[in-house]
Every structure is written in C-alpha cells, then in structure tokens.
Symmetry: C2
Subunit: 582 residues, 2 copies
Amino acid sequence: MQRMMLFERFSRSFRENPSFSKLLVVLTVSGSGLVAYSEAQSPGVPVATEASEANKKKRIVVLGTGWAATSFLKNLKDPSYDVQVISPRNYFAFTPLLPSVTCGTVESRSVVEPVRNIIRKKGVDMHYLEAECFKIDAANKKVHCRSNLNNNLNGEEEFVVDYDYLVISVGARVNTFNIPGVSENCHFLKEVEDAQRIRRTVIDCFERASLPNLSDEERKRILHFVIVGGGPTGVEFSAQLHDFVNEDVVRLYPDVKDLVKITLLEATDHILSMFDKRITAFAEEKFQRDGIQLKTGSMVVGVSDKELSTKQAKSGEKSVMPYGMVVWSTGIGTRPVIMDFMKQIGQVSRRVLATDEWLRVEGSDNIYALGDCATINQRKIMEDVSAIFSKADKDNSGTLTVKEFQEVSKDICERYPQFELHLKNHKMHTLVDLLKESKGDAVKETVEVNIEEFKSALSQVDSQMKFLPATAQVASQQGVYLAKCFNRMKECETNPEGPLRIRGEGRHRFRPFRYKHLGQFAPLGGEQTAAQLPGDWVSIGHSSQWLWYSVYASKQVSWRTRVYVISDWTRRFIFGRDSSRI
Amino acid sequence: MQRMMLFERFSRSFRENPSFSKLLVVLTVSGSGLVAYSEAQSPGVPVATEASEANKKKRIVVLGTGWAATSFLKNLKDPSYDVQVISPRNYFAFTPLLPSVTCGTVESRSVVEPVRNIIRKKGVDMHYLEAECFKIDAANKKVHCRSNLNNNLNGEEEFVVDYDYLVISVGARVNTFNIPGVSENCHFLKEVEDAQRIRRTVIDCFERASLPNLSDEERKRILHFVIVGGGPTGVEFSAQLHDFVNEDVVRLYPDVKDLVKITLLEATDHILSMFDKRITAFAEEKFQRDGIQLKTGSMVVGVSDKELSTKQAKSGEKSVMPYGMVVWSTGIGTRPVIMDFMKQIGQVSRRVLATDEWLRVEGSDNIYALGDCATINQRKIMEDVSAIFSKADKDNSGTLTVKEFQEVSKDICERYPQFELHLKNHKMHTLVDLLKESKGDAVKETVEVNIEEFKSALSQVDSQMKFLPATAQVASQQGVYLAKCFNRMKECETNPEGPLRIRGEGRHRFRPFRYKHLGQFAPLGGEQTAAQLPGDWVSIGHSSQWLWYSVYASKQVSWRTRVYVISDWTRRFIFGRDSSRI
C-alpha cells in the first residue's frame, strides 16, 4: 500500500521476531532490578500443512479463552486439526492479578493478551470467533453461537459451527447462592471489567465522601468497604485496598482517610482455610494489626442498596451493617449453557459437569471439558473391585497370589489415584502391604486372598478421593494434558500408553490426567505474601513477596504482558497508584 | 498504623521527593532512546500560611479540570486564596493524545493526571470536589452542584458553594448541529471515555466482520469507518485508524483486512483548512495514496443506525453510505449551564459566553471565563474612536498633533491588538504612518488631524479582529495569564500596569490577555507529521514526527504521565497495539 519505511521495518522485525524483543526485554527487565526467572520456551517450529490434507482435517471447537483453553491452544502442535476458538472475550486474562487491577497496582491491559496473538504463532490452523455459545447440540455435533453486540453490528444473529471434537472450557459464573440483593448490589471479581468497575467505584466512594453537606455517619457508610469471602481473592483484595488507603489515599484524600473501614466476612471459622494453619494464623493476625475488621462465622443473608444483613453461624444472631461498596468473592456456579448441556446428556442430578479421568464428558462422545466448568468424576475402586479381582486372577483360581497382585499393581495405581494416595498415607509400598495389613500380622509372603478378603482390604481406599480445586493451576495443567493427548491421538491409538482396562479388553489409549500441585500464594499487603509450596513448605513475609513477583512475571502468557506487568510494578513503586476515575 | 518497612520508606521517598523520581526517569528515558526535551520546572517553594489569615482568605471557585483550569491551578502561587476546584472529572486529560488512545497507540491512563496530584503540590489551599456545577447563581455568588453518582452513594443530592471569585473553565460540548441521529449513532472524541469507547467499537467491528454467515456486503458495511470533520482531530483519527489497520490488523484479522474502508467527510473544500495550504495539499495527497477516501464539500444531513446520508454542498446531490462506525469530530457547542448563566447576565443573543480582554465575563462581577466555554469579545476601536480622540487631545484643541499621538500610541496598541496587527500587515510602524496614509502622501511630519480624519484613518482597523481558536494552547495560555493576574492582584491594585483607560480615569490594573501562537501539529500516520510553526515555517515528514514526540512528551502535565506516554510509545514500537476488547 505504501513504501515500507525504515521505522516500520525496524518495528515489524521486532514484532515478528520474538527473539529480538526477548533480548530487549531482558535488558529492560535487568534494568528494573527484578530478578524474574523465566520459563521462555523456544518458539515451536511451524509444521508445513499440505493443501490436499485440508478437507480431511478433524475440526476441534474450543469454547472459552481462559486458562484451560489457552494452555490447550498453546500446546496443541498437531497440524492435522482445524481449530475454531469461540469465546465472547477476545483475550486471555491473567486472573491471579485481577485483585491488583482493582486498586491500580497493575493496569488492566497488562494482564490481558489477545487470543489472536496466542493462536497466530502456531503451525496449526486456528481461527477465533468472538461469540458466545448459548447451546451445545451434542446429537448433531454442532454449537449454536451469537456475538451479543446489540448495536448496528447485528451481533444478535445466530450461527452454527460443526465439530468433530468439542473442548468445553467456558469457566464458571459467580455463585450468589440465591441470596436476595447480591446480584443487584455487589461487585464481583471474575472478569477484567469487574476489576475496572471496582477501581472506579473505590474512587467514587472517596470522591463522594469528600463532598460537603454530608453527615459523618454518611461519610463512614460510604467509606465502609465490605468483602464477602475469605478465600485467596477476597483476602488479596482486602490487602490491596488497605495498601491503597495507606499508601495513596492518605496523600490524596487527607480529609477522609481516617473514616475508612474495611471488613472481611467469612462464613467459616477461618480465612484462607485451604492454606496451612500457620498461614491462616499469620494472615488473621496481620489483618488485625492493619485494622482490617475480620468477621468469621458470619453469613450474609441479604443485601440492600446501602445495608448488608448478616447472621452469625453459631449464635444465629442477626446484624445489619451499612456499606459503601461490597465485593462478593465466594464460590462459583455453573453457567446456563452447561446446565442445559447436562440435561441433554443425562447429567441432571449433578451440580457440575462430570468428566472421566481423561477429561471426557461422561455420557457423550468426543466432548471434553476442563477448567472450572467441570469436575473429574474419579471412579471409585469399590465399584470395580470384582472386575479388578477377576482381571488380576489370571488363572481363575478364585484367589489372588502375590505374583498376580504385582502384575496389576502399577495399572491400579495409575487408574485409581486414591489407591496410591492411600498407600502413601499409610506408609505402605504395594498392594501386598495392604493385603497383609488386612489379613493381620500372621500373614506370609505367599499369601493368597479370596474376593471377600480383597474387598475388605480395599474398603477404605475411596475415602482418599479428592476433588480438584477450581484454580488457574488445575485448568492450566488440564489444558496442557489434553493438548498432549490430541497431539498423540494417532500414535497412541496403535500403541496405547494408559493403564489396563478393568472392565474391557486391552489398555486405555492415554494415561489419566494427574494434577501436580505446585504451591499457592496469598498476598497479604504491605509487600508481604504467604506462600505454601509442595512438601508443606510455608514461607511468609517480604521474601515470599519477591518470589510472588518472580513467579507471576514468569508465568505471564506472553512477553508483552510480562514487560507490561513488570513495568506497572516499577511505575507504581515510583509514582504510586493513579486515582483518575476512568 | 504499622511499622514503616524499608521498602515502603524507599517507595515513599521517591514519591515525596520529585527530584529522585526525575533522576530515575531521566535514566529510564535515556534508556528508551528518545531524546525528549524537557521543560521541568523546579517545584515551587511552599509559602507558609498563618492560621489567623484563614478567615480573611478570598474564596476562588474553579469550575472544570481541563487545560485552562489546570494551567490556572498550576500557576496560582498566592497563598492568600482558598481555592475550590469543582469538576465531574477528577483528572486532567492530555486531549491532543486522545486520537492515539482510540487505537491503542497510547493507553488512556497515560494521558490523564489526577487533579488531586496537581493541586497537592501547592503552597496554596486547594480542595477538589468531584461534582458537576449545574447552576451559577451570580447574584448571590454561589454555585449549585451535585455529583451525579446515581447509585447507593446518593450523588444526586445537591450542595452549594460560595465564592468571591469564580473561574469558569468548563469547556464545550460536542456540536451536533441538530442533525437527526447524530447524538444517537455517532461516536465523539472529546473525553477519555469517548476514546476508550471508540477503541472497543473498532475491535467490535473487526471481530463481528470475522464471524461466519455474513454476506460480503455486510462485512464491508461493518468495516466502513466514517469520520466526519476534516480538522486536526478527525484527520489524526483517520491516520491512526489507517496505521492500526496496516500495522496490526493485517496480522490479527488477515481474512477481513482487504474489506476495510476509511472515509473522511469534510463540509468545506479542503481538510485541515486552518493550516498552511502546503500542509493541506500534502495531507490530501498522502491520504489518497493510503487509500483513505476523502469526500470534501460533503455535508451530513442525517445518520441512521446503519447508514449516513450526505449532501454535496455545491451540486445538492444526495447520497447514502452504509457504515459500521461513525466518529463525529466537527465544531463545539455551549454547555447548558453556560447557556443558563448567559441568560442571567443578559448575554441572551450571543452564541458563546463573552469576556472582555482581561477574561472577565461581560456583565458580571468577579467572574472569569476561559478556555473553550468563552470567547474574548475584543472591543472595536471604532466604538471608542471619539473617546480615544479626546483622551489623546490633551489640550482640547480639537486636533491631534504627532506628539499627542505618540503619547497614547503604546496604550492603544496594547488595548486594541487589531490596531497593532493592522500596522504590521500594512508594514507601518506607528499611528502616525496610518494617519499619513489616510491623508495622502502630501502630509508632513507635523500633521494635525481632526476627529473626522482620525475616524477615517482607523476605519479599516477593526477588520483585523480575530477570534481565538478553541484549542488547548489558547486555554492553557489563558490559565497562566489569569493565575498571574491573581498572583499580583494586590500589587497591581496600587501600581496598575495595564494600558490607559480610554473611557475612564487612570490605567487598567493588568495588561490584557494576548495569545502567542506557538505552532500546531497534524499527525498524518505512517510516522509522518505536518508541523506549522510560527513565522509560517512548515515541516512535513518523519522529522516532524520526532518533533511531535518530543514536544508532546515535554508538554505532559507531570513526570508520571511523561514516563507513561514515552513507555507506551516504546511498547507499541516493540509489541504493536493491543487488540483486547476491554
């Protein structure tokens, strides 16, 4: 269209050649003094696709652009698929930084990456459609979508996309537990827009409280910030708000700074209950020192536009607190499109969409679900105990020998993770140890057990079953797992790598998904963070804050967001947070 | 509240000691390779105020936080005032960068600075109230305000603020010229929120056009961007959009990039008509080369949700064009609060609020108006011609001598800028030259003129009167001027420094406001800018673009925004523009 100017060529070469920008970024980052350990992977070599193959390509439709979908898309390398990504959100959001966005510690644009950038770098045919899937038609292998732009762009027009494989990763919605007034009066903290809205509202409260002709009582009401839910998000938002008040509000709104009150409500007895007790205790003590009011065992029963009603779980005592802003950060609920889909496939009685251990939706073909919209319905060992027994009893003798046990032991560990966990927790090494224990100390190495003895030995194992938490870490690992399965779909069809099929013949095609917990952070404000790492290693304080900075910088989905986030931290450090109401 | 941690102290010392951050910024900026010439002024030394003086302080109320108000606030140094700033926008926006915000070249938060930061640094008592003044009560020296937060914060409650001096700098609103459909269907580009909305809508158009089940015609409609108004803003937005399409859309939306069409409509015969003809010609040629459709002499007569109707000014030919997005960037109109105020003070027949040459609102006491909401009603020399004659004719002889002329010449030049301009344009030096010309070549140095001859000599002078353009530059200079007047209010009361009062006794307290044009930029895209500097110096191309970068970086209101803007430019250069729909 016009001559390529020197500047543009320079600029374009930067954008098209990731290693250039990495070099520059490393220089920038080193300048900012933050030692961020980086996980950069060398860009995947694009695999050439042949035009003749195009019509044979299997169509994958991915719903969503969150953690699960994005890690799936980033790791899918097999060029024999044609991928359509459908989501109303044309970007991936680094959700763990949302609490930082609410007070301007990090800018909203620094935590998002356009999904088109993510899918563009691949050797795989990937296309993105900005639309919301409102109906999954599993019988006809179609999804119904519309873009919901209710303006002159006619986004309400519907369209249909066919699939061979469907990957559902639409996430969850906020759960209001049907408490009256919550959806009308509370702020949520799930999307980037929520965080932006909270930021504006916080500023609104301070500006409004600074106006004349208000009683002190009214000012106090306006500056009463209530956070419902003592999980990591609620705790981090409280901490961020407290930091904002102490570091920036004191300068900008000196007249009203002493009227600010932050209250954190939690229905159970402790905040951060999923963390180690040491962390909970430290957080509760720090919040008390900081003047953040902590109300545990307190359930919300209703929210009006200016007041929040609570009930003490134990005493049943009711109380009412006037507020300026409420942030609702409790559990998650199922999206309507998933509810509708569950009815279709007969999962009517379930609360959440269930998949098997390979992330396949139970009761449907070629449909996978991962992330917050689904849970893995781990098969109970007791349901299969007879089948396991007869599978292991190769000579059909009616009893199992040690040798027979050992042959199936590895497969059983792989197929039923609760079995491995049970052995580990009881400090046993193999199935044999378990049987020995069940038959008493007298038993010998040459033990043989019959079916009843076998059942009794395994009877306690299923109590070790655990549901995976609805976290970014789980979703991300599921995305990687599923992409790797798709990458080796053909290879593993001929050479299955999974465990022995207990109720069928041969082996499962893939190993089941196994979650590996890498640890968890809970930023507590004042440049202090609690970290719980694998092996129950707990670290609290300023050093963990730097670990937090490093890990979150390294976990960014792109170099762009990495640089943005680090420079936001640097800019906040120098200039403080911006209080403009935009 | 808690022990001061090392990190916090370090961070706070940065924020509280501007020179620290300047040092750091200089290091940062030098690293980014941009040579920005800087205008940093050393921070004003705070002047101690005595508590006993507090009740004697004169109350200034400033309406608005735009260019005029902010430069007034930054330059007001006299601690004997108590200043209340009232504006619904708690930040100053660097409006010349708004077109850059529309396509993500610069982030919205980089072009704003909280007004509380601006007023905090002063030795003067300044307070900010986030509210909109909806009524000026000049008779009782009060303004009526409300904050318009129609939520649980009860922002609709009204309050009243008293003033001794009122400074009106509320800016203008968009002028739709009552063309049907404009306010419902067009985007404007006056506020930061407008720019953010445009950015989202541009992305919406591209996402919507990428969806299946659309005819090619519909795709073309959606990707037809129409800009109404060929002034600097409209031209710059067209250029930005074109750059965005060519630099980023080609990568992100490859399927639809060839369907994009940009049309610029201008009612007169040329775009950028306030610039030198060379610039206009260059811009028109460049746009043609770039494929931006230019329709001059084309007036909009109506806008429906999908179509825009135009009429050719000359031929009267009507046509209709389907569009996806329209940006309306034409003239400005008067805000309702100003209209109401004009009625009160008898300025009913005027289109814009009129002030005298000292920025005082005509027909009211102690009220000043500056920026886009007012125009200076320059006094015509012919209205005062008899008074000037008798003032100059000290001996009441009925004729003026050369000596008598020369004594009032300086005052007349100062009081009537059109007089100085007339002399300059006709290559004359003094009033005497003018009189000589009017009496013909035969006249001698010892000329004497009577009143009729004097009138005839001055009769053409008023044709040189010019209205000041509604630009940031004018508003900013007016703010500085007015602040300096307020700073020397007492000093000049005893020693007036202004010109002789023609229709009264003594001298005016201050010199009248005089605008000094420093030049103007018109960015044309592709890293090219047209610059018109004083003395008709015209520069077009890449070098002007760097001048533009330097000037805009240096003109930033704070070091914070300066660093933000420069790092945005750098980040865009490396990573391109972000296309996330947030």
